[in-house]
Every structure is written in C-alpha cells, then in structure tokens.
C-alpha cells in the first residue's frame, strides 16, 4: 500500500481500537434490559435556582450509583434533565415531549409547573412526585391518584413547628406567634392550619407578608417588632430566608425563637458569622450530612472515581440529600412494582409500586415513609433541627403532628 493510505488505515484502526477498549467493560453496568425513564424537568435558571442545582446533583449521583450497582432488577435508569424556568407553558410543553419519549415518572420541583401539570398527569396516568411542595390537597390519593408529595406538606411542616413550640419551648397558650411569609400561594399555604389551631391551643397569630421575591423585608420586620412576638415562623425560600433571619435579629428577636420551613440550608446560614444566628430552628425532612449510608456509598462509588455531577463540597448538603431521597423513593417503588408485576414498567405499575412503599427510610436517610392509595403524603413525618453555628443538628426524633387536622381541612376544602 502507498504510505499515506497505510498511515490513514493505521490511524483508523487505532482509533477504533481505542474507542472499543475505552468502553466501560470492567464495570457491572446494567445492560441488556429496557431502561426505566424518569424525567426531572426543573427550574435551573429563574426562581428556584438556589435549590435546583444541588437537588439535581443529588438526583444524578444517586441514579449513577443505582446504575453502577446493576440498575433496578437489571434495568438501567435513564434520567432526562431539562430546564423549564418555572414557566407553566414551557413546563407543559416539556412534559408532553418527555411523555412521548417514554418517561414514566416526573419531578418538576416548581409549585406553578407542578400545579399546572397535575391534572394532565392524572389523565395520562404517569406518577409525579412533588417532594414537600405544591398544593395541599394533592396528598389525597383518591382525588389525585397520580400525584405523590411523598413528604410532609407545608401544613404538616407548620404543625410540626407548632408542636415543637408547644412541647419543648414553653407552650403555646397565651403566646404571640408572628407568621412572616412571602406573599405568594406558597407563603400562604399553612395559614389555614395555623388559624385552625388558634382555637384549640389558645395563642395569638398574626401574618406578616413580604412581597415577592423576598429581598426587601425591612418594612415587614419593623411591624413584627411592634407586635413583640414570642416566636416567629419564617416561610420563604432562597435568598429571602437569610434576609428574614437578618431582619429578625436586627429587630431584636432572639434567633432561638425563629422557626423556619424546610427551605433553609447551610448556604443561607453561612452569611452569619460566629454565634449571631445560633438557635434558629427549621423543619428537617431528610437527614443532611455525608455520614448517611447512602451518601457514603455515593461518595465511594461515584464521587471518588470522579463521576460526580458537580462540586464535591455540595455532597451531603441539605438540598443534595433531599435530591437523593426524591430519587430513592421511585427507585424503591420500581423495585416493588417489577417484583410484583414484572417488566415492562408502565406509569400505572409504578403508581401501584409507589403505593406499596411501607416503612421505607432509605437506610436511615429519611423518616419511615408509608404511602397508601389514600395517603400520598406518607404520614407527614419530620423533625426539628437547630443551627449550631456549623451545621443543622437534630433536636428530636422523627414525629408527626396534627395529621387529623390536616386531613380534616383538606376534606372541608374539597367539599367547597
């Protein structure tokens, strides 16, 4: 052969060899069986930016771990990740496309998009998770058969905070509680429950809304100071949370009497140096930290070999672990569903699998979750954690609060 042709042929062969040998042959990759398709269509760019990148990182690392360990009964899990910027119209368009592509499980991580898609998910018979966000009546499995909040909804979280104040912080009777919230449907969610508790517990409640997006709260906190509350519940998300804590401390409220919703993370508290914010409490639905068994496995098999999907420092943070939990639940449901009905997995089988979940705690990552056909919340478990200057440390064990009242309110509202 002519020299040039030989060189070309040689390099072509070498390239083919490299590509073939480069394929991951050594790992026990789930191969050969049909992949399970889960779609995480979330808001990376607009409203939920504080949460989504860490949450998605947790989800991707966990799915990579599952695929490395052989998939779900040999089926690999394929994650479709897209950004809808919390625009309901874009969310619906992407949902339709993902549905056409064969995705059978959805996570939107955005209250407006989740609310817009919920009726369609019920019609198209594909389950969706709305972990700790979205509308309260979605926990009723008979009304919303394909929507699975799978964690304490906002009203249950508020009930947990009030239960803690009642039992551990000096009781509620005769106390003044200030509810400082963002002026959006998310911020107003727990008001119905708190007002229902006023009668039975004998405290005074006043709401203090601050305007979206929550970066300007000075006026609200001046009013709160005039109210002289015994405890303050802050209900916001993202950068507004740090502004709230700063506003409270600046207006003479002790951090020990500040109670927050689940959406406050280590990053939010980093801006407080030293002891300024020690004592702030929040609802915890998923244990943070890198010493959880699942996170340890992720670090060992995914992060150490360099396959992590983001910053090493985020592994084990609050939102990362919530992301891991949000994928652990459908993976467990898929296992149960495949065990009972066999491949191929459809949306209806996955829904049945989700409703078979009993006392599932993902190796200690979450409280024991039991989902039934009627109760898609899973019991409303949570615990209270306190900021000790370095991390969020749990103060109590997993518990539930006021679930009868939560369900009673939902049934009353559905009747209207």
């Amino acid at each position: 052969m002519k020299p040039i042709r030989r060189t070309l042929l040689g390099s072509g062969l070498a390239a083919t060899a490299a590509v073939t040998l480069g394929l991951p042959m050594g790992r026990a990759l789930a191969q050969g069986k049909e992949p399970l398709k889960f779609a995480t269509l979330m808001d990376f760019t607009r409203v939920y930016t504080f949460l989504t990148s860490e949450y998605s990182q947790g989800q991707q690392d966990y799915i990579r771990l599952i695929n490395l360990e052989g998939g779900v009964d040999g089926h690999p899990v394929n994650l479709t990740i897209r950004d809808h910027a919390s625009h309901p119209q874009q969310g619906i368009a992407m949902y339709n496309e993902a549905l056409r592509d064969g995705n059978i499980f959805f996570d939107f991580l955005s209250t407006p998009v989740a609310n817009a898609v919920m009726p369609r998910a019920n019609e198209d018979k594909v389950p969706m998770i709305a972990f700790a966000h979205g509308r309260a009546d979605a926990i009723d499995g008979t009304e919303f058969p394909y929507v699975f909040p799978s964690a304490a909804i906002y009203r249950s979280q508020a009930a947990l905070l009030m239960q803690y104040i009642d039992e551990q912080a000096g009781g509620l009777k005769g106390k003044k509680i200030a509810f400082v919230h963002i002026d959006s449907p998310f911020g107003k969610e727990p008001i119905a429950l708190l007002e229902a508790m006023v009668q039975s517990k004998g405290f005074t409640l006043q709401g203090f809304p601050y305007p979206v997006p929550g970066t300007e709260q000075a006026a609200t906190w001046t009013e709160v100071r005039r109210f002289r509350p015994d405890a303050v519940i802050i209900w916001g998300a993202g950068p507004g949370q740090a502004v709230s804590v700063r506003g409270a401390i600046g207006n003479g409220i002790s951090p020990k009497s500040i109670y927050s919703v689940v959406w406050i993370s280590d990053t939010d508290m980093q801006s407080f140096s030293g002891d300024t914010a020690v004592g702030v409490k929040r609802v915890t639905l998923v244990n943070p930290g890198t010493d959880q068994k699942i996170v340890q496995r992720i670090i060992e098999k995914v992060i150490e070999p360099g396959d992590g999907s983001g910053d090493r420092s985020t592994v084990g943070s609050t939102y990362y672990n919530i992301g891991v939990a949000s994928m652990a639940i459908p993976v467990q449901a898929a296992r149960l569903a495949l065990g009972k009905s066999g491949a191929p997995l459809t949306g209806e089988k996955l829904k049945a699998g989700l409703e078979m979940i009993k006392d599932f705690d993902a190796d200690g990552l979450m409280p024991p979750l039991t989902i039934t056909a009627e109760d898609h919340q899973g019991g409303g478990w949570g615990r209270i954690s306190e900021w000790n200057g370095k991390q969020w440390a749990p103060l109590s064990d997993w518990s539930t609060a006021e679930q009868d009242l939560v369900w009673k309110l939902i049934r009353e509202e559905a009747g209207k």
């Binding site: 990376f44 760019t45 989504t52 990148s53 998605s56 990182q57 991707q60 990740i81 897209r82 950004d83 910027a85 919390s86 625009h87 309901p88 119209q89 874009q90 619906i92 368009a93 992407m94 339709n96 496309e97 549905l99 056409r100 407006p112 609310n115 817009a116 919920m118 009726p119 369609r120 509308r135 309260a136 009546d137 002026d183 959006s184 449907p185 107003k188 969610e189 008001i191 119905a192 999907s309 983001g310 509202e413 209207k416």
Partner: protein, 357 residues
C-alpha cells in the same frame, strides 16, 4: 418570476383594493390556512399541543397588543393582567352556568371595561409614563387575583376550567380545542388585517402619529384612545379565556405574571409593530426559540458532543436566545416582519434588482 405579475391587472376597484392583489400572495395565504386546518392530520400530537396551539393563542394575543401598541401607539405593559381578567372571568361565568360562547364575550367585556379604566391614564400621559401606569395595572390586578380568594379559587390558587361545549361541540380532546383556538386566531387576524382600511383604524393611526394634529383635523382623541384600549383589551380578554380553556385548563396567577407581559411586548417588538405576519412570527420566535434551543443543546449533551454541567446546559439556551434577539434587532430594527418584507420584495422582481425600501 416567483410572483407572476404579468397578466395580473384589475379592472374594478374592489379587486384592486383587496388585501392581496397579487395572486401569488393569495395562494400563499390559502396554503398556510390549509396547513393550519389540516394540522391534526399530519402533525404529531405533541407538536400540535405544545407548539402549534400556544403559538396560535399567543399570536392572537400579540395581534391584540399590536393593535394598541403598533396601530394606536399606546405603550401597554400590563397586557397579561388583561388576559388574566378574561381567563378568570370566563371560568367563573362558565361555572355559574352561562353558556360558553356568552362567557367568552362576557369575559372580553369585563376585561375591556377594566382595561379602559386603566387606559384612561393614556388621556393624560404618554410614552414611558403610560408604561408606569400600565405596569401598575399589571401588579394591581395580580395582587387582587392572588389575595381575593373568591376570584382565585382558594388558598391552593389553582382554578380548573369546567367542561364546556362551543356551538354544541363539546370541548373535550385536543382537536376541538385546537380548532377553537384556530377559529379565534383567524377572526382576530382578519380583524387586524382590515382595520387599517376602516375609519376607526385611520383615526388610530392619526392618534399615533401626532395626536394634537389629529385633534386639529377633527379626530376626537379622547374617544379614540379609550376605544383603542377598549377593543384591544376585549380581544386580549377573550384570548385569555381561550388560553385558559384550550391550553392550560387550570389557571394559576403565575401564568399571567409580569414576565408574561414582557414576553408579549417582546413578541410585538421582535415581530414588528403593527404588522399581522410580524405578530405570528414574533410569537413563534419568543415562544418556541427557547424550547427548540433547549432541546438542541440537550441532545448535543446527551450525544456526548458537549460536556457541561447541568446548570450550564440550562443557561446556554438563554444566552443564545438573548443573542438572537439582539442580533435580529440589530440586523433589522423594524422586526421579523420587515425581514420577511425585504425577502418578498427581493423575490417579487427577481432576477432584476430591487431598491432597498
């Protein structure tokens, strides 16, 4: 050569004054109409429901806004609030038992009345100050909807549209909803196409160009400015109702936020002020370009040709989209409609040269 002009001569005023005197233009319009009517037959369902349907509805909304901004020259930065009034009013009217056709008209009238109220600010202020007044309308209406639970459907703030039927055809299934949206888009298109040829349209153009000069020659600017707001808000209100019933089927206040208003204004400006084809081109661009860019970038990443983090993958389409808007407006400040117009003029006299106009 492409637009056969030889042999095309008109012997009557009616044929010379028709909307498209050149037969080639007419055939293009018939072709597009035929494509739109036959869309459920050849278009996969996902593209029909997620791309074409919102394109038609937002195209109609852009036409309503271009009537106000392009023809009457009144800047309106609160149009999503007008659509919200129409959407919520139509749902409440249907739930109260009013037939769907009358509910649509009622929703339009309510939106027109409230739009007129805020539009009365146009009688005193112009330009950026009118923008402030209409932005105030946007936030006021949004606040009222969120905080008055009787309107927004309770603390959960999601209102489902009831099942209705339009002219005895039940609105179930994608095809019925698509054809209703198409019907409304065609009605609004015909209206805006012809409006410049009526005395109402000519009065609006006079008010836009120089309102005191128009007053001097006898155009009642008080009446025509209010009428501009009234008619544009009526069309916007009915479009909002169609959006709620045909596309979203469950309305939340976030679907009509300030961002949607800015998108609508972008659709009008990128498409071209005052032009009908510009409204649809602009609506298509603003609505579909982000999704198409996102899908292309995502498929590049999935195929392994581009390896970036998930967050960066979500931001690249936004960067490209912003660059495209700047690029289009720098290339042709008068918008996409002018780009189409330039192309048409080029092919009209091809292979001869044409003068840049």
């Amino acid at each position: 050569m492409f637009y056969r002009l030889s042999g095309v001569h008109h012997t009557r005023y009616a044929s010379a004054r028709q909307l498209w005197p050149v037969p080639a233009d007419r055939w293009q319009v018939y072709g597009i109409l035929a494509l739109a009517l036959a869309a459920p037959l050849y278009l996969p369902q996902v593209y029909l429901s997620s791309y074409l349907l919102p394109w038609l509805i937002f195209g109609a909304a852009t036409l309503a806004l271009t009537l106000l901004m392009g023809l009457a020259g009144q800047l309106h930065f609160g149009f999503a609030a007008v659509m919200a009034i129409g959407a919520y009013a139509s749902i409440h009217l249907s739930q109260a038992g009013v037939p769907f056709e009358l509910a649509l008209i009622g929703a339009g009238l309510l939106a027109a009345l409230i739009g007129c109220l805020f539009g009365a600010a146009a009688l005193r202020v112009k330009g950026l100050y009118l923008v402030m007044a209409t932005v105030a309308m946007q936030f006021l209406v949004n606040w009222v909807i969120v905080n008055v639970t009787a309107i927004s459907g309770g603390a959960v703030a999601t209102l489902q549209t009831p099942r209705v039927s339009f002219l005895f055809i039940p609105m179930d299934g994608l095809m019925a909803r698509y054809y209703l949206a198409l019907l409304w888009a065609v009605i609004v298109t015909l209206l805006i196409l012809n409006i410049k040829r009526t005395s109402f349209g000519r009065a609006l153009v006079a008010v836009r160009d120089k309102d005191f000069a128009a007053a001097v020659i006898g155009v009642n600017i008080f009446k025509y400015k209010l009428l501009a707001f009234f008619s544009s808000s009526f069309l916007g209100g009915v479009t909002g109702a169609i959006l709620a019933f045909c596309y979203y089927q469950a309305v939340t206040p976030e679907q009509f936020s300030f961002d949607v208003t800015i998108s609508l204004v972008a659709m009008v400006l990128v498409g071209g002020l005052g032009s009908v084809i510009g409204a649809f081109l602009g609506a298509g661009f603003v609505l579909l370009a982000p999704i198409i860019l996102l899908n292309s970038i995502a498929s590049l990443v999935d195929a392994g040709w581009l390896s970036v983090s998930t967050t960066l993958m979500a931001h690249i389409p936004l960067m490209l989209y912003g660059a495209m808007i700047i690029g289009f407006l720098l290339y042709e400040p008068l918008g996409l409609a002018k780009i189409y117009d330039n192309l048409r003029k080029y092919f009209l006299v091809w292979p001869f040269r044409h003068t840049q106009s």
